[in-house]
Symmetry: C2
Subunit: 258 residues, 2 copies
């Protein structure tokens, strides 16, 4: 497949490399920052550009992998005839691309990407949606070619997935960071959390997180909860978070008729 | 080593089996529930009892692996002379055991244990503390014999670890559960979260969670945040959690002078 990518961030870079290493031809990398465009283009043997109007027209797919809030503006600058145009965003409606091409869709990788870490693409579910069957088939073929899993989801479902990802990934990661701060104040290294964090994640995905819940809140152990809140005196934001999350666990697990 | 265990829950069971399979002799399993005591005793070739007063005296270690709020009462029923008495609790002071034996300490596994899952003991850090060097050496020898990692922590440090574990394990697990509820309402299976949850945990422990933070809050993407809050209309508890966690991420990552 001949593909161009708009964007040069984490998603554009990891996907661009995966496409290239699976034998696809990367035509253009387009980014407003010439240095970033050239850096990614050199990795995937592509041409670097800064203006979407300069994109080659004879491509099979134009993938928009940029921040959510610039997709709409970018889409209005595109005018393809045969090329499938797709974005990679969780929260943006597919219809945003309706003026960019007769064939449009969404290619949303349900994963967190960072510059410092190579993702295992074969574990990534790709959430696909398209306005026409031919466009969906092209996106499906692309996801399969890089070893990804395929999930067909409409725009409302994808928005819910995006919101759920914030809870399951962004917020959990922040809780790891808060836990790390707490123990570093006592001179203990973050590394001590390693096995607890991995085991919690593995338990949740190998059973289900409701069944896997442990800790004082699910036991309604008010003595420990009071002691923890006492330890958090002087850190009102953490204390409020502790109270709210404990109440939420209690509420989820409350027994009927109690 | 000849060991008796008070308790028959997840911690008692997983540790008891690990001791037994590493060649230690398990003398007694003591639990107020005779059925539970017998079930664990049969797994580790021990005698089952319900009264602490009936525990054999000629043992090297008596391990109290029960709920935090009954340790104090149990400790007052023990009267050993040579035996090291230790509990496995994160939040209970070592001094609680000072009347149980001249040799006492803490053997706190920094891990979450569930009945349905065999833990990998070689990944578990054991937080050790004791009132005398000989007692500490015995606890250290025991942890090493089952392949655990050793961390020496005093009672205040251990209480902070316990609090941090609630954030990094109990609360993150609850966020997985909340995310699962959100997507199940759209007919999507929890399994779709699998790779995201594992990758987030692996990123955090292989880099550090502050650097690994992604999502709308760290980018201060107010448009997506507003959209998510709008999606949570009608679920006030979730909406409040979303706001508080997003504010906490923003606050942690705010740039100086902005």
């Amino acid at each position: 497949m001949r593909i161009s990518i708009i964007g040069s961030g984490n998603v554009a870079t990891h996907l661009g490399k995966a496409f290239y290493h699976s034998g696809h031809e990367i035509a253009d990398i387009c980014s407003p920052s010439p240095g970033h465009a050239r850096a990614l283009a050199s990795l995937v043997n592509a041409r670097a550009l800064t203006q979407p109007s300069a994109l080659r027209k004879d491509i099979d797919l134009c993938l928009i992998a940029v921040k959510d809030d610039v997709i709409e503006q970018l889409a209005s600058a595109l005018d393809f005839r045969e090329t499938v145009v797709a974005h990679t965003a969780g929260s943006i409606s597919m219809q945003t691309l309706s003026g960019s091409s007769p064939y449009y869709g969404v290619f949303y990788p349900f994963q967190t990407f960072s510059a410092f870490r190579e993702p295992d693409i074969s574990r990534v579910p790709f959430c696909l949606e398209a306005n026409r069957q031919q466009a969906l088939e092209r996106l499906r073929e692309l996801a399969e070619s890089i070893g990804g899993k395929i999930v067909e989801v409409d725009s409302p479902g994808r928005k819910t997935l995006h919101l759920a990802a914030v809870f399951a990934s962004n917020f959990t990661n922040h809780l790891y960071a808060l836990a790390g701060e707490l123990i570093r104040e006592k001179g203990l290294p973050f590394d001590i959390m390693r096995s607890l964090i991995l085991e919690t994640a593995e338990k949740a995905v190998n059973a289900d997180p409701f069944t896997a819940q442990t800790g004082p809140a699910v036991r309604n152990d008010q003595k420990v909860i009071r002691e923890h809140l006492h330890q958090l005196e002087g850190q009102p934001a953490l204390k409020q978070l502790y109270s709210l999350l404990s109440a939420s666990i209690l509420n989820s697990h409350k027994k009927p008729n109690i």
